[in-house]
């Protein structure tokens, strides 16, 4: 790929991404939303983040991942559910996935 093309890809992706971020912020500030919509906004963020977590835990490029990652995530979620400290949640998830892979689990 030529340098010019590469610059173009990065520039368009950067400007586009920044615009998406800014438009939401400015719209949220400018529009006075009804209470019903205001209640939905944090739930919308919950929906997106839950969708992100689930797809990141279970899929890879449109296919199911191996076993190690979902089991690691599950261990972390159980730890969080049992109100273990957040740092422990992150460490447990990573350690379980890494440990399973050491044992040859995909």
């Amino acid at each position: 790929m030529t340098t010019a093309n590469l610059v173009l890809v990065i520039a368009v992706l950067a400007v586009g991404t920044y615009s998406l971020r800014l438009v939401g912020v400015v719209l949220g500030d400018r529009l006075r939303l009804s209470p019903a919509v205001n209640r939905l906004l944090p739930l919308g963020a919950v929906a997106l983040l839950a969708a992100l977590a689930a797809t990141a835990a279970l899929t890879d490029a449109g296919q199911l991942t191996g076993v190690a990652r979902p089991v690691g995530v599950l261990a972390g979620v159980v730890a969080a559910w049992r109100r273990l400290p957040f740092v422990a949640v992150v460490l447990i998830a990573a350690a379980v996935a890494a440990g399973l892979r050491q044992l040859g689990v995909p």
């Binding site: 992706l13 950067a14 739930l43 929906a47 983040l49 449109g62 969080a80 957040f86 996935a97 440990g99």
Partner: protein, 240 residues
């Protein structure tokens, strides 16, 4: 808010929690730098991706597609993956209030983790402090990680060796838990997760997460608070 108030608002435990995620993000940045250079991109382009785009998932996707000789797909795929930031912006806009400087900088710092940490806080001052600290420190560590990956190459190896790919979803769920313990939040989260996972087998990356918004369909009706005056029906949206 001055600096000492800022730290007091956050509290030591939250700062430590944010630190754990930021550290993990830094290591993913190392792997991004290493993978991007290995795929044939020049160093300046890799650093520009991290500084200017600053959205990990779309950066990995775009680098892969650029390496495959498909720049148009890199742009479209990356933007589709980042479209979730628009509704994120709506949800956090009140945390970036206070002038255009904050709005412009805060928008660039809008990463999933910053939104998730903000969402997990009980009140607005803490939401605000959590958003800024998470966003700013992830920015710094993402750049530092990218630089390290570019110049040190594959010293760290595959991040899956350390289970970092499992740490990110687990951290997100942990941050969502306070919301998931409420019935409406749990319904929305479960439906969103199910729809997104099912969709990911059929549609290109990025779209499944957006389709997760279907979870809002089960958010349930809001109980209308008694109207302050018996005026006519309020418009759903009005420009200030």
């Amino acid at each position: 808010m001055n600096v000492s108030t800022f730290w007091r608002t956050l509290g030591g435990r939250l700062v430590r929690d944010i630190g754990a995620v930021v550290l993990a993000v830094g290591f993913v940045g190392v792997s991004f730098g290493a993978i991007a250079v290995a795929s044939g991109l020049p160093a300046w382009a890799v650093l520009a991706f991290s500084a200017c785009v600053f959205a990990g998932g779309s950066q990995f996707l775009a680098v892969g597609l650029v390496a495959a000789g498909n720049p148009v797909a890199a742009i479209l795929g990356g933007l589709l993956l980042n479209a979730r930031h628009l509704p994120f912006g709506l949800a956090v806009s009140d945390l970036l209030a206070g002038g255009w400087g904050r709005r412009l900088i805060g928008s660039h710092l809008m990463v999933d983790e910053a939104v998730a940490f903000a969402l997990a806080q009980p009140d607005r001052p803490r939401r605000r402090a959590a958003y800024w600290l998470t966003g700013a420190s992830i920015f710094v560590f993402w750049q530092a990680g990218t630089v390290a990956g570019v110049y040190l190459g594959g010293v760290m190896g595959d991040p899956t060796r350390y289970g970092l790919d499992a740490a990110f979803p687990a951290a997100l769920v942990a941050l969502l838990l306070p919301r998931l313990r409420e019935p409406a939040g749990l319904r929305v989260g479960l439906v969103a997760a199910a729809v997104a996972v099912a969709a990911s087998f059929f549609v290109p990356p990025g779209l499944p997460v957006l389709l997760g918004l279907a979870g809002l369909l089960v958010a349930g009706r809001m109980r209308r608070p008694p109207a302050p005056d018996e005026s006519t029906v309020e418009p759903a949206m009005e420009v200030r």
